[in-house]
Symmetry: C2
Subunit: 343 residues, 2 copies
């Protein structure tokens, strides 16, 4: 029999002590961590970046196919992705959770294992949070702090006309992972004897359940003195992010369908599900890649990095926000990305 320790047996402060007992501070800027009214951070001579995300069971994740350890990892990573998207280095996170009594201490331990794994990988300190009961479902709120040299942060509204539009990694994989998991869930609910068939799908499942933040791209920029003119992360789907970037920068753009990076395994999965891989890349969310614009003269510098694709360029506003398809047609790019309130 598995152990099950009721959370009420520890109490709130006992629980906090339990969950944070093995955590070691990794940043010299972390002066005071968990256990007081607030954490204290020293950002002498740096600028502080702060970002926050709320993740709610049934809206952002389904515990039927999301292991708690992966959920803890992902909850941290999606915030770090926002910090990197500012060209900053994440340094601290706070993690708050609201939980119903269906969760045991062992279940929370799994979640925090994931939180700690992400903190360790990205060298950030967990410095606080709040634990609460919830009436229904698991609620997670993460805030990340990061630091950046004065004036070196990169906004999303500062792209210039004629800049190259680039993305890191590949797109659409997380959405296809979600499609697969939802399909397998449905099959399981209809017939619990059928085991999920995830063979050969580890790539798209990994994109969904264990995303990574693109620290490597930020490091590459620094090593090669590359300064994007604008940058943001791709969390709601490429089309949604392109619209933000162009509209906020008062620009139009041309995106080439055949330049949008889609992983072979994602493409195969799309065909299997009868989906268009390009639509998955444009409208699927949660890839946590970076989209950024570069001056054209920086083109040579980025060809060094296979993880960066140039997918188009910015134009005058009047030219519209356009996709040029493989078949030679031109379409307006519209926001069909993830929308929290209509789906």
């Amino acid at each position: 029999m598995e152990n099950r320790t009721e959370i009420s047996s520890l109490g709130e402060f006992g629980l906090i002590n339990h969950l944070t007992r093995n955590f070691e501070i990794q940043n010299a800027s972390t002066l005071l961590s968990i256990g007081d009214d607030a954490a204290v951070v020293d950002h002498f001579g740096k600028q502080t970046v702060v970002t926050t995300d709320l993740l709610i069971e049934g809206i952002h994740f389904d515990l039927m196919y999301t292991p708690l350890k992966h959920l803890g990892y992902k909850s941290v990573v999606v915030n770090l992705s926002d910090v990197y998207a500012m060209n900053a280095t994440p340094t601290q996170v706070t993690v708050s959770i609201g939980i119903s009594n269906r969760f045991s201490v062992e279940a929370l331990d799994e979640f925090y294992e994931g939180v700690y794994a992400a903190c360790e990988k990205y060298k950030v300190d967990l410095v606080g949070g709040d634990t609460s009961s919830s009436q229904k479902g698991f609620i997670i709120s993460v805030t990340a702090l990061g630091e950046v040299a004065p004036g070196k942060f990169i906004r999303r509204d500062t792209a210039q006309k004629g800049d190259l539009i680039c993305v890191s990694g590949d797109l659409g994989g997380a959405f296809l992972g979600l499609t697969l998991m939802e399909r397998e869930k449905k099959i399981y609910l209809e017939n619990p004897q059928v085991q999920p068939n995830l063979e050969g799908e580890d790539y798209i499942v990994g994109r969904l359940l264990k995303p990574e933040a693109r620290k490597d791209i930020i490091d590459f920029f620094e090593q090669h003195n590359i300064v994007p003119t604008a940058m943001m992360d791709v969390s709601d789907g490429l089309s949604s992010e392109i619209l933000h970037l162009c509209k906020q920068s008062n620009l139009g753009c041309r995106i080439y369908e055949d330049k949008i990076p889609v992983h072979d395994r994602a493409r195969q999965a799309a065909f299997k599900f009868g989906l268009d891989p390009t639509v998955c890349a444009l409208n699927g969310g949660e890839d946590y890649e970076l989209i950024f614009t570069l001056k054209q003269e920086d083109y040579d510098k980025i060809t060094l990095n296979e993880e960066i694709s140039v997918i188009g360029y910015t134009t005058e506003t009047e030219e519209g926000i356009k996709l040029l398809t493989k078949g030679g047609n031109t379409f307006d790019i519209t926001a069909q990305g993830w929308n929290a309130f209509t789906k």
Copy 2:
């Protein structure tokens, strides 16, 4: 008929634009605010304080008697209270909300009116957040940043033997306000014709629904060169906070019942409900006062401030954590404060 705009008619980004359209930045340290992946804060030469709280409908508040504007105000204030409890000045907040479709845009406007009122009063900037749908109920997560001169933050575990134990304001009022509102709610649910009777109870109702953070006390410390040896805010009830402060500082204490400040109106309400006012002060939560310890030689300095009460002093650990009652008895102080997981 009242206006009701569905949130889905705005979409997530439309909603964010709508809710933040009138907000002006108040702190020079706020370099980049709402609308990018993260906010950017300049804390050159200061240390950054970060704290976060999660508020969940049905657990932390009841919308049946909590106006949304008050809720927005309180959500910010409870976080600022934690920043002041570090002897720091709050500068920025992020506010994330999860909402079900039973809320209209007008309802959220009311909530944000309260958020903005608190930001304006305490001169902090709203710099970000996340909006999401929820499966059930209203979920609020606020993170506050503050700044403090290097090394000037005050921890809760640094009290010294023989220090005076002080609290600001008065205690137990919020709990009595909650008791009153719960009573009136019960009466109303049994007989909706009966109007709530809150006459003469505005003090305790205000303590519950519109708490303030004790900026004035922190300002007073600065003006009079007072440096508490330890400090925290009183959010879970006096007994719970005394236990934290003493245990984390490895000390015992003597608290005098007759020195615990209880407002006359709270005392009257307690008697009306058949409750012991001291028990309300010890075990009721949400007063958001400050508890702090001072060297004895600082006693003269604080007598200037009528909002500060000396309620006892710290002792050796071996002498225990004790309450001396008006009747001359001595009791151990136990943690009967608010516990998120057993109540």
